[in-house]
Symmetry: C2
Subunit: 132 residues, 2 copies
DNA sequence: AAATGTGGTTACCTCCATGTAACTTGAGCA
DNA sequence: TGCTCAAGTTACATGGAGGTAACCACATTT
């Protein structure tokens, strides 16, 4: 209900929505976000434990990914001022609700991995024949 | 279970599968693939028509994205040697089967866009207070 | 004094996805 | 002679995602 300047209640919703959708899907499609969400799906975790379970991620990328997810309201962060510092991360209601759609996609990949791999070999084989 | 070199039928499926899953999700998450798949979802299209419907994509990226999707067995290509050349693109059975999971994800984003945008504003507001 | 552990930040570098623009092919058409 | 079309290919430039490694603060342990 906040109109900047003159009323624009239902104006060009498609273009802006499309951009936001793309931004969000970019997040879903980035290298670590989905892994983090899935890893937090089982329950809250501390930073180091989360890093251990997300094999290969660096501190820098874990922090960055968590910040992005926190900004988007998928993940909460709770720091306890013990020594050393204790920080817990977990999924918000929003984050939890993403697990379903995500799982649908992962299941699809699992079901079709064979066919995709086969298609790739087949395609690459063709290319060999065409090129040198 | 560890045979290096000899028979390896169901060996370390997790690691390799995980990588392939990631590769495929990377494709899903790239800038144009999903748009192309959705645009082809309604039926086969010629190159230029597909480009027109995928607002903003360049010839180069359209070709590249289509090649990737073709390689993964999602899209078929049929060139007819007319003059000028006529090329039709469409979704394979595999590509069509992806539409469902994709739609699930897009629907989730549509349902939660408001909450995400709000979370972002809120988060950015906090940051302003903390930083200068 | 020095190492350890947690949860970061910062500087720096590299590679790749993407963008822009020019060129190609081959027939038709002016 | 040159322009146009479709469907690309190629060369070149660039931004940003991601990686590496060093640094920090603080208290405890060795």
């Amino acid at each position: 209900m906040d109109n900047t300047g003159t009323e624009r209640t239902t104006e060009l919703p498609l273009l802006e929505d499309c951009m936001i959708t793309r931004q969000i899907l970019d997040r879903v499609g980035d290298k670590w976000s989905m892994l983090i969400v899935v890893n937090l799906g089982a329950g809250q975790l501390r930073f180091k434990e989360l890093q251990r379970r997300s094999s290969g991620i660096s501190q820098r990328m874990l922090t960055q990914t968590l910040r992005h997810l926190e900004r988007d309201g998928m993940v909460w962060r709770k720091a306890t001022p013990t020594v050393p510092l204790t920080v817990e991360y977990g999924l918000t209601t929003l984050g939890l609700s993403l697990l379903g759609p995500l799982q649908t996609l992962v299941d699809w990949v699992d079901s079709n991995r064979g066919e995709i791999v086969e298609a790739r070999s087949s395609y690459d084989g063709q290319q060999e024949n065409i090129q040198g």
